[in-house]
């Protein structure tokens, strides 16, 4: 049984002023112990998809589709069942730890409180667990740090403390929304390696949102690339990084500055993503795609599996084996 099952997830924000079709039919699966990275431009629906898994969207958001976590239907859960789910089975970490932590409680109090909310343990045991967790996330002088308030820690330590809070009850699923984006390169790699180690040790499922291809390369088993509220390509990370199928994924890879590109002109993707005031009824990437032709505008391309284990939402990708695909798709000279 998969840990996460999303089927035709749709999220629309409708207010008096405007409507945003943020997510327009997302299917995703995650197995226990697997790490999936969601990549995509700003506004493509990554965070909204992640929040839908924990039902953390505002009340006015219209959510349709199947959202199952650990076999439970999240869309139909009672508030109390949801409270049980959050923190115990599923935990979330964010880009800015200050928004997720309470500034008036010490790190130790926050971890102990999370433990006691979900498990019947004594205060002393909860505090002992807090210390263990700070050591687990490699916070130096952990004992002293238990008494620290969030603002007293550096960005990297705060991010580790938030991971400690998230792991307090050994969740089966960890949702991470750009948790390393605000960190320095030297600290980012520390946190990524830490997350990878903890994920393996506890056999956690992880969904990790990022716009950084390099981050996905370090931690992902599989990658889903989103565009305008849909998954346009999905598959193992190595395939995506060595030969993306969808023209948007190809553009993204081409536009990412790699070592050794000095003096070469960077590939760009012309134009801008669509305004999502209406649900796209054709390939949403077609207006920016130099290979777009009539069939691209006829309908929303279906998510096919042109290569075993890899899916793409593009009519141009022929059903072939992996090595043929990259040749068939490379632009004419």
């Amino acid at each position: 049984m998969s840990l996460v099952k999303l089927r035709d997830l749709r999220v629309t924000f409708r207010t008096r002023d405007r409507t945003v079709h943020a997510v327009n039919g997302v299917d995703l699966d995650l197995a226990a112990g697997e790490t999936l990275c969601i990549l995509g431009e700003s506004g493509s629906g990554k965070s909204v998809t992640l929040r839908a898994l924990m039902r953390l969207l505002p009340r006015f958001a219209e959510v349709q589709g199947t959202v199952e976590v650990a076999g439970q239907d999240v869309t139909r859960m009672s508030e109390s069942a949801l409270t049980d789910l959050r923190g115990r089975d599923v935990a979330m970490i964010f880009q800015e730890p200050m928004t997720a932590m309470d500034p008036v409680f010490t790190i130790g109090q926050q971890i102990a409180e999370t433990v006691r909310r979900h498990e019947r343990v004594s205060r002393a045991d909860a505090e002992a667990r807090a210390l263990e967790l700070l050591e687990l996330v490699q916070i130096p002088s952990a004992k002293r740090r238990l008494a620290a308030y969030p603002h007293e820690l550096s960005g990297g330590l705060r991010q580790r403390a938030m991971i400690a809070v998230a792991l307090a009850c050994r969740p089966k699923l960890l949702l991470a929304d750009e948790p390393t984006t605000a960190l320095d390169a030297t600290v980012q790699i520390q946190v990524l390696l830490l997350l990878r180690e903890l994920q393996q040790r506890f056999n956690m499922g992880v969904i990790f949102v990022t716009h950084d291809l390099g981050v996905a390369g370090e931690i992902a088993d599989r990658v889903a690339v989103m565009y305008a509220g849909r998954v346009v390509e999905e598959g193992p990370v190595s395939g995506l990084m060595s030969g993306p199928l969808h023209p948007y994924a190809q553009g993204l890879l081409g536009a990412t500055v790699h070592p050794g590109m000095r003096g070469k002109r960077l590939t760009t993707i012309p134009g801008a993503p669509p305004a999502l005031d209406k649900e796209p009824t054709a390939c949403a990437f077609a207006p920016r795609c130099d290979r777009a032709h009539e069939p691209c505008l006829a309908d929303v391309p279906s998510l096919r599996e042109p290569v075993a284990g890899r899916r793409a939402r593009c009519v141009l990708v022929p059903d072939q084996t992996a090595w043929c695909v990259s040749e068939a798709l490379s632009p004419a000279p």
Partner: protein, 350 residues
């Protein structure tokens, strides 16, 4: 005739465009009941380097190491506590008596682009007026300033007919950053300081803006100081790279040399922290542990020694001097300095 022409070159190509020496900027930390100064943040602590004519000088280093403070000193948005700045042979901040370059004339020749494309534009002005503002302040007539603004918008790829009258909120992040670049170029500066100019942009847009910066540099004969935490972007765009750690310069040199043979252990660790981009060959151990020390109370001697794998007694006792490694490469590390007393230094020399 151009009413506000670009400033002419003075000292010829060999003279540095900007020469900084011993720049210091400390920020007082106020605290306690009376708001007395309790301590100082040593944000920039004796920084010196040259910016050569026509080059792109990249600046890298961890968050809080003083990159933006250095940029604001270069722009003279901040006054240094001490140190000197010489622009194309003239001391910056002079007056009629002392000679040198008055601040107003200096500011015309040095412009800056910030990371936050939204906060740096006036939300109530059409972008054309934002771009025309500085030329007007510097004495260009209204019609001419607007013409200059439209030329600049065209130069950054925003067709004036379509974009000139738009407000910042009617633009995407990448388009807003183009407006900021147009605005920085409207005075025809010689030096442009770019502080994380692409960090807030999506990758596809980042590539557009980087291509644009390369084109504009060529077209207008500019010199760039380019600050970024993205080490791949710095490698792509820079001719030389300056590495900072805790308010000091630790290493400077040609980009290929720094990326291939970093001499300072901090530079090596920083570069090794880049994601591998190869899922079958992932990083296994972090090159650096711990966070940077507090700039209020930096370590004695070499400031990197608390995290350095090669630290020895000498590193705590004496501050390393900049060792000249040839080809314009220099590093502030005892290991790079034969005779420093560090056990590895002798091996390098031998």
């Amino acid at each position: 005739m151009d009413a506000l022409p670009p400033s002419a070159d003075r000292g010829g190509p060999a003279q540095p465009l900007l020469r900084l020496d011993g720049l210091v900027k400390h920020f007082p930390l106020k605290g306690g009941l009376l708001g007395r100064t309790q301590a100082v943040v040593r944000a920039v602590d004796g920084v010196g380097f040259d910016v050569r004519k026509g080059e792109t000088l990249g600046i890298v280093g961890e968050s809080g190491c003083g990159k933006s403070t250095t940029a604001r000193l270069l722009m003279r948005l901040l006054d240094p506590d001490s140190g000197t700045m010489v622009f194309d042979g003239e001391a910056v901040g002079g007056n009629a008596q002392s000679g040198g370059l008055p601040l107003r004339a200096y500011r015309r020749q040095v412009q800056m682009v910030f990371q936050d494309s939204y906060a740096s534009l006036n939300p109530r002005l059409p972008i054309e007026d934002s771009v025309a503002f500085a030329p007007k302040v510097h004495g260009l007539g209204n019609a001419e300033a607007v013409r200059r603004a439209r030329d600049m918008l065209a130069a950054v790829g925003l067709a004036p007919a379509n974009f000139a009258r738009r407000y910042p909120h009617e633009l995407s992040g990448g388009q807003r950053q183009r407006v900021n670049i147009a605005r920085a170029l409207a005075l025809r500066p010689r030096l442009v300081i770019l502080d994380e100019p692409v960090s807030a942009l999506d990758k596809s847009v980042e590539a557009q803006v980087l291509n644009l910066l390369v084109d504009l540099k060529e077209e207008f004969g500019l010199t760039y100081v380019f600050i970024s935490h993205d080490l791949n972007v710095v490698q792509y765009i820079s001719d030389r790279v300056l590495v900072m750690y805790l308010g000091e310069v630790t290493e400077i040199g040609p980009v290929e040399r720094i990326y291939e043979r970093p001499a300072h252990p901090y530079t090596a660790a920083l570069l090794a922290s880049r994601p591998s981009m190869d899922p079958s060959n992932r990083r296994t151990a972090p090159p650096l542990t711990g966070d940077p020390p507090n700039p209020v109370n930096p370590p004695s001697g070499c400031r990197f020694r608390t995290r350095c794998p090669h630290a020895e007694a000498v590193c705590a006792e004496r501050k390393p001097i900049m060792a000249d490694l040839g080809v314009g490469h220099a590093a502030a590390c005892h290991i790079a300095n034969p005779g420093s007393g560090h056990s590895l230094a002798e091996k390098v020399a031998a």
